[in-house]
Subunit: 178 residues, 2 copies
């Protein structure tokens, strides 16, 4: 997918629906991918995101040391690869190669975008004070990319134990909400 | 809907997919409801949830003062009421009455369950240290209720400005993930 820059002011609309994302990091020359569902918006603009990366995850040390990552949003076509990422550890598996994911250089961070994902958000850690208590990182999105041809992304939403809800129809209501 | 107790160990599966929820509070004899999308799981068991309640929201003072709330999960049939809750403030509107929502007494907290929602989670605030910086409350779910007849809930997922994705099909993949 050819991605184009996406306005930072619209990023919340990508994450607020709650999709599973693929978090990429790079540390000591080793890129890694983890599946992540525990994230939420913290601020509209600049877009800030809170996420939980367990200290048991291989990505934890990379995120803590480099303070950089990319949040990539996959669609249903990638479901098997998402589960493969979730079922394995970067300690033992070179996931990009093992699962056929294509790393693309980011513009502002060291971690790679994933070509196969329809959207990618380059992020840096702006607050690590809640890491020791909750494994909670506060990220700021520095640059956003999207595949403009993907109008109604069939995102994946994890219900637990490998059961995913796939994004269905869209409805529009008159709203003053942002 | 007649709700039954739901195991706390399974609560994450209700919130992890990222549905819009209706947060209820009660303060100084006044019950209120707000629409909320900025929430995430923090811990499996006991289930802990982080959420953002803006200090501009009427619910903020109630949550801060009482340290109790209920997270109610609506389905698509309630979309118009969800938007009505989001478009109005408890300062001016008695939302339960105005929007035809039915309050039901909770078992462990003062805030009411919403009868029309398929699931309700009674919560208390266990950490308010991130409120001043991020309006972030850490909740612990004390008691969970679900309508057992609602097998594939058509939850609402906000994309911004009144556009909602409605939960679609469910897929199951072989996974070691929780």
């Amino acid at each position: 997918m050819a991605k184009r820059p996406f306005p930072l002011s619209k990023v919340y609309g990508l994450l607020e629906p709650g999709p599973v994302v693929l978090l990429t990091t790079v540390h000591k020359g080793k890129a890694n991918v983890m599946a992540m569902s525990w994230h939420m918006m913290l601020e509209f603009e600049p877009p800030r995101v809170a996420c939980i990366v367990s200290s048991r995850n291989f990505s934890f040390d990379a995120l803590k040391a480099t303070r950089q990552c990319v949040i990539n949003i996959p669609t249903a076509e990638l479901a098997a690869k998402v589960v493969s990422c979730g079922n394995s550890s970067g300690r033992r598996v070179e996931k990009f190669k093992a699962f056929g994911l294509t790393p693309v250089s980011a513009s502002l961070v060291g971690a790679p975008l994933i070509a196969e994902c329809y959207a990618s958000l380059e992020c840096r850690v702006i607050d690590a004070r809640m890491v020791s208590r909750y494994n909670l990182f506060v990220l700021e999105v520095l640059k956003a990319w999207i595949d403009p041809s993907c109008k109604a992304p069939r995102t994946l939403h994890h219900r637990g134990r490998g059961v995913f809800m796939v994004a269905g129809e869209t409805i529009k209501l008159r709203s003053k909400m942002k």
